[in-house]
C-alpha cells in the first residue's frame, strides 16, 4: 500500500461511529466509552499521518494523547461514580439541571 489514506478514512468512519454513540446512548458509561472510541480514531489518523511523512512527531502526539486520555478516564469515572452515589443513576437525561 503506497498511501496512508485508507487509514485516515477508517479513522473518520470510527470517529463518526463514536459521535453516533455519544448521541444515541444515554448511559453515562456508554457515552464515555464512545468518547474513548473517538479519541482512538483521532490517534489512528495521527499515526497514519506520521507514517505518511516519515516523521516521529505524530507518534509523539499519540503518546501524549494516550496519557491525557488515561488521566481523563480516571477523573471521568470518578465523576460518574460520585454522581451515581448521589442519584443512583447513570442516565444523563437525569442530569438536566442546566435547563435554560
Amino acid at each position: 500500500m503506497d498511501t496512508a489514506m485508507p487509514y485516515v478514512l477508517l479513522s473518520a468512519i470510527l470517529f463518526a461511529l463514536g459521535v453516533m454513540g455519544v448521541l444515541i446512548r444515554r448511559n453515562a458509561l456508554m457515552i464515555f466509552m464512545s468518547i474513548e472510541l473517538m479519541l482512538n480514531s483521532a490517534n489512528l489518523a495521527l499515526v497514519a499521518f506520521a507514517r505518511q511523512w516519515g516523521q516521529l512527531d505524530g507518534q509523539m502526539f499519540v503518546f501524549f494523547i494516550m496519557t491525557v486520555a488515561a488521566a481523563e478516564v480516571a477523573v471521568g469515572l470518578a465523576l460518574i461514580v460520585t454522581i451515581f452515589r448521589a442519584r443512583r443513576s447513570t442516565n444523563v437525561d437525569d442530569l438536566a439541571q442546566l435547563k435554560g
Binding site: A4, A48, V75
Partner: protein
C-alpha cells in the same frame, strides 16, 4: 490486491464491526468488551503503520489499564444489568437525527477519500520508531510536554481521589 491492503481491510472490518457492536450492545459489559476488541484491532493497524511502540502502549494502557478501569466501574455500579436505555420521554427526534447526521459525516468522509485517493501523496521512507528512538525524541524535543504531562497525571490522580472520597 496486495497482502498489505488485504490485511488492512480485514482488520479495518474487525474494527468497524467492533465499534458497531459497542454502539448497539444492550449491556455495558459487552460494550466494554467490544471496545477492547476495537482497540486491539487498532493496535494491529499501528503495527502496520510502523508504530510498534504505540501498538504495545495501546494494548497495555488502553485495552489493558483503561478498559480494566471501565469494567471495574461498570461492575461496581451494577451497570451491566441496566440493559437497554429506557425510551426517552422527550426529544424522540434526537436519536434518528443523530444517526442521520453521523451517516452524512461518514458519507462525506468516503466522498473526500474517493475524490482525492488518486491525488494522495506516496508514503515517505519509514523512520526508526523503536523504543530507543522514541525515548530519545521524548527527552530531547519533547522534554517540556513530557514534564507537563507528568503533572497532569498527578493532578488527575489527586482529582480522582478527592472526587470519590466519602465525606
Amino acid at each position: 490486491m496486495s497482502p498489505d491492503l488485504l490485511l488492512f481491510l480485514i482488520i479495518a472490518l474487525v474494527a468497524v464491526a467492533a465499534a458497531l457492536g459497542m454502539l448497539f450492545s444492550r449491556s455495558a459489559l459487552y460494550a466494554a468488551l467490544f471496545l477492547i476488541m476495537n482497540f486491539g484491532a487498532v493496535a494491529v493497524l499501528y503495527l502496520l503503520l510502523n508504530a510498534p511502540f504505540l501498538a504495545v502502549v495501546q494494548v497495555s494502557v488502553y485495552a489493558g489499564a483503561i478498559m480494566v478501569l471501565f469494567l471495574f466501574v461498570i461492575m461496581l455500579l451494577g451497570a451491566e444489568r441496566l440493559g437497554r436505555d429506557p425510551e426517552p420521554a422527550t426529544m424522540r427526534w434526537q436519536r434518528p437525527l443523530a444517526i442521520v447526521l453521523a451517516v452524512v459525516l461518514i458519507v462525506q468522509a468516503v466522498y473526500v477519500f474517493a475524490a482525492r485517493a488518486g491525488a494522495a501523496p506516496a508514503v515517505a521512507e519509514a523512520v526508526d520508531a523503536g523504543p530507543l528512538n522514541i525515548g530519545k525524541t521524548l527527552i530531547n524535543s519533547y522534554l517540556l510536554p513530557f514534564e507537563v504531562i507528568a503533572i497532569v497525571l498527578l493532578a488527575a490522580m489527586i482529582g480522582a481521589v478527592v472526587l470519590t472520597r466519602d465525606k
